[in-house]
Symmetry: C2
Subunit: 238 residues, 2 copies
DNA sequence: CGTGTACTTGAGTGGGCTCAAGCAGGGTGG
DNA sequence: CCACCCTGCTTGAGCCCACTCAAGTACACG
């Protein structure tokens, strides 16, 4: 990790953490966490910052407190392919628990807040806490479900690009509102397997039809306001 | 599960199992397995038989002893999409451990042999055996790795179909020989997101170029003999 | 206010789809 | 053992969606 790419806000106090119920530590007693005695730091990343690199030995795992991270792989030609998106509650570096080295590069899309736990400490804690293992297994399970859905709904060449984009947009909704995270064209393309030009044209269509409305200024607040009902219609088009 | 679709060979004797070192029970002591006392049956499926259906409540998990199984999802139009292929050593029904219901339909591609463990027994055993949890986590990890590779190498629209087919064929090698499992055109298409017609044309090219040679008679023995070096070249073409 | 990155727009091409037939081969039943 | 049938494969013609290449534009950030 490049020191210039993140800021450290100092040690976390897990006892006062308002997110603990959403983490894998949810069912672990406070006394056990105290006994853990790991140096857990709170980090902040800027958009575009790298949390870890493909192929590097994993030094730590990080709990997503806020923001969105893309997990990417690069092909021989250097083109990126996004295989997953991490959001609040997910675990960055999960796969490295069982494989030593990272298998993707993790890049912040928005501003990102995490809690970093050194791998050594986490590994030893893991051996002592069966409930923690179950929670981790659930995280793996969630990740599998997400990738399965990507495969079955998002990346089929045989489904029109417009339909697939609608499905992706519905997955990028913020809560239950009509607000939708607006990724860069390149990122959207790296998910759907389309070129930026094609996406630009399709999105222009949707804007012209009134289905999408550009909103939010600045790279930290890019978003669409979307007509969810209309997008749902489009997403069901075979 | 439809009773007509599989044959039961009777109870397994785990103590004499020649595959135990490859299963998730590898590090579990024999005395623990004896104490387990689960009714574990050995099953055989014909090609095309269904191991379990999407959406059904999981009754059991099954350990793959032999053969290949496709995990498929069906879209609204009824078209299948293959999200994973299970081989010897994999666990069928893995995801249902954490979600009650199955999330794919599992269909035998070749003749398939499994050991079936009722879900109830397995769940209770799981709570008592931390090492078993770690082994299961490894299975989840393997599944994630496979799907990640599918996403990054196999399904990109921007990569020519010929290249992607070569990559898939290399993944379907039998051991280290030049022999390659020959899936149906429809199945290959359900993996790569291509139509059978397109695949037929590309495969004809490869046969004409001497890269592939059709071999094996009967649905149980379909295979290609492939020129691995040539396929590797083609698979690297961006 | 300058600079760079990301987005936009156009014209032209081509890869893979669609639709429509014909073919093979192996499994089934007589 | 043979004939049938049915599924899966093959081949062709034509089209269309999305890619490529090439400019030009807007916007965000310093």
């Amino acid at each position: 990790m490049n020191p210039r790419e993140y800021k450290c806000l100092g040690r976390s106090d897990c006892r006062r953490c308002e997110h603990r119920s959403q983490t894998i530590f949810a069912e672990i007693g406070l006394e056990d966490i105290d006994a853990f005695q790991a140096p857990i730091d709170r980090l902040v990343y800027e958009p575009g910052a790298v949390l870890y690199h493909d192929g590097h030995v994993a030094q730590a795992i990080q709990f997503m407190r806020y923001g969105a991270v893309k997990l990417v792989r690069f092909d021989a030609a250097g083109h990126q392919r996004i295989v997953r998106i991490l959001k609040q509650g997910d675990v960055a570096g999960l796969e490295a628990i069982l494989s030593e080295k990272h298998q993707h590069t993790a890049i912040a899309i928005t501003e990102v807040h995490t809690c970093r736990v050194p791998m050594q400490h986490f590994q030893s804690f893991l051996l002592q806490a069966p409930r923690l293992q179950m929670r981790l297994m659930e995280k793996f399970h969630q990740a599998l479900q997400e990738v399965d859905q990507w495969l079955s709904e998002l990346v089929s060449n045989t489904i029109p690009a417009r339909t697939r984009l609608a499905r992706l947009l519905l997955r990028l909704r913020i809560g239950n509102s009509g607000d939708i995270h607006r990724l860069s064209l390149a990122d959207t393309g790296a998910i759907l397997g389309l070129t930026p030009e094609t996406l630009c044209r399709i999105q222009r269509e949707l804007v012209n039809e009134g289905v999408l409305l550009k909103a939010g200024k600045g790279r930290a607040h890019r978003r669409y306001q979307g007509d969810i009902a209309a997008l749902s219609m489009i997403s069901q088009n075979p």
